[in-house]
């Protein structure tokens, strides 16, 4: 496995895209720290990048990469290598390089300018979202042979999770506002990884507002470490499930 990861990783580095992505994050983060002396505000602006741009880049890049790796995958398949190893090797290499971009691009300036717990949560959310969206990209890649279609599906995933889903959720909460909706909304929110990452950040930035809730349920959830553990668990599920399904599909796929 490590050998496969190593070669895919080298291959990704050679395309220079990762380098550009890292540089983009680096410049954005440094610029924000330069423009604003209030760390809290910087974290807030960075949060928008992490919640919007990182999933988009991750899912599109991973999908394109997967299709560009067909040659490599075919080459590997003729060798005495397990299919799962090839697939997971691809996954880990892509996930690793994109995560590295975030850690370097956002993490290093944070270290230099100094950041508090919310900064680290942001970094963590960024890495988790990267992993989730690489997972989703791999899933959409194995579902169709057509590269354009797969990129379309990937973009749809992104659009759905960053906008459409929340719109539906808002509509539901507004329509059924007279009913106790705490459990339902929290359940529904966990079906969206971007929302889950956002909740992690809200726990850092807006805990005072979250604690203003009527229900003891919310209070327990947000007041203790339960919220942190829950959202982390859900994000993990979001990483593991698509990639496991994708690996199973890939295992039975004709190449």
């Amino acid at each position: 496995m490590t050998r496969v990861i190593k070669y895919v990783f080298y291959d990704i580095l050679r395309t220079r895209f990762i380098l550009l992505y890292t540089l983009f994050l680096l410049l954005c983060t440094i610029a924000m720290f330069q423009l604003d002396s209030d760390t809290g505000k910087v974290i807030l602006s960075l949060m928008n990048i992490v919640l919007m741009v990182v999933p988009l880049i991750s899912i599109v890049f991973s999908t394109i990469h997967f299709y560009n790796s067909y040659e490599f995958i075919e080459l590997m398949l003729a060798q005495p290598v397990d299919r799962k190893v090839i697939f997971l090797g691809e996954y880990f290499a892509v996930a690793f390089s994109l995560s590295l971009s975030i850690l370097a691009g956002v993490g290093i300036p944070m270290m230099l300018y100094g950041a508090d717990a919310s900064g680290f949560t942001l970094l963590y959310a960024g890495v988790m979202l990267t992993l989730v969206f690489v997972s989703l990209a791999f899933l959409s890649s194995v579902l169709t042979r057509d590269k354009a279609k797969a990129i379309g599906v990937a973009l749809l995933f992104w659009f759905y999770f960053s906008l459409i889903y929340d719109g539906l959720l808002l509509w539901i909460t507004y329509t059924f506002m007279d009913y106790p909706l705490e459990r339902l909304t929290l359940t529904l929110i966990s079906f969206n990884p971007i929302d889950m990452a956002r909740i992690l950040m809200l726990l850092q930035l807006d805990i005072s507002a979250l604690m203003g809730f009527t229900g003891a349920f919310y209070k327990n959830f947000f007041g203790s470490s339960t919220g942190m553990i829950f959202s982390t668990a859900v994000l993990f599920a979001w990483i593991v499930m698509p990639v496991v399904i994708a690996a199973r599909v890939f295992n039975r796929k004709d190449l």
């Binding site: 050998r3 496969v4 070669y7 291959d11 050679r14 395309t15 560009n68 790796s69 067909y70 040659e71 490599f72 075919e74 080459l75 590997m76 398949l77 003729a78 060798q79 005495p80 290598v81 397990d82 299919r83 039975r252 796929k253 004709d254 190449l255």
Partner: protein, 253 residues
């Protein structure tokens, strides 16, 4: 030895392989022949595990290959069109494959040298001509001296000199008792290289016997002509085409 039993493969509604029974024995060299779309590449890819059969079994040295992968250590594969990661250099590619194969029995760099690939180790794959890619592909297939070789259109795109080098190598390996399966449209090449003929048509094996027998039966000296005869007789089996070549029909499976 590779033994294939009742192998079927459907791509959606298309039946690419319709229940194939065939055996490839060590020490023999097979010409796999058939019109385009007759299922040759699908069969080879099934054996390599790249295509997952709908039903049926494939045994390599008596071991079912389903859910296995280590048997591929025994197989060298030269695909119809060699696809390689664009950004890799030839040298890196060779290193990588060497690295991936953990315990190769022996490294056979004869073709690497004969094709003079050593002089271009720094070239990136996407800068290579089709012929050079074929050379790399061939060199990789033979690199670990595997007991089984699948060569899918090995000579296409190669210059005459390289074709000769490759043929010599194939003959040499055949003489060393390896199992070789070649598909090619250039039948004159196969004439020199193979001992047996597997003829496929619309997902079934229509003929599987030695080259000698085929020539004897058809009364032709050249494989090309013999095959042409064979193809005609196979088409004749189709109900809408009038029956002829009774003699051949008897040997067609």
């Amino acid at each position: 030895m590779i033994s294939i039993q009742q192998l079927r493969k459907n791509f959606g509604r298309l039946q690419a392989l319709k229940g194939i029974d065939v055996e490839f024995r060590s020490g023999k060299s097979y010409a796999m022949i058939g019109p385009n779309g007759s299922g040759k590449t699908t069969l080879i890819k099934s054996i390599l595990g790249m295509v997952i059969p709908t039903s049926g079994e494939i045994l390599v040295d008596g071991e079912n290959i389903r859910h296995h992968w280590s048997y591929r250590e025994k197989i060298g594969y030269m695909p119809q069109i060699g696809q390689f990661p664009d950004n890799m250099r030839i040298g890196q590619l060779l290193d990588m494959i060497r690295n991936i194969r953990q315990h190769p029995p022996a490294v056979d760099e004869e073709l690497v040298e004969a094709f003079q690939l050593n002089a271009m180790l720094d070239k990136r794959m996407h800068t290579l001509s089709g012929g050079t890619r074929q050379k790399v592909s061939a060199a990789l297939a033979f690199l670990f001296s595997p007991p089984v070789l699948f060569l899918d259109e090995p000579t296409s795109g190669l210059d005459p000199l390289s074709v000769e080098i490759l043929k010599e190598k194939i003959v040499h390996e055949k003489e060393r008792g390896k199992l070789i399966v070649i598909t090619s449209h250039i039948l004159s090449d196969l004439d020199e290289l193979t001992t047996d003929v597997v003829y496929m048509h619309e997902g079934t094996v229509k003929y599987n016997n030695s080259l000698e027998t085929l020539k004897e039966v058809t009364g032709e000296q050249k494989l090309g002509k013999a095959i042409a005869n064979l193809m005609r007789s196979v088409s004749a089996q189709h109900p809408r085409i009038h029956k002829s070549h009774e003699k051949l029909n008897t040997i067609v499976l």
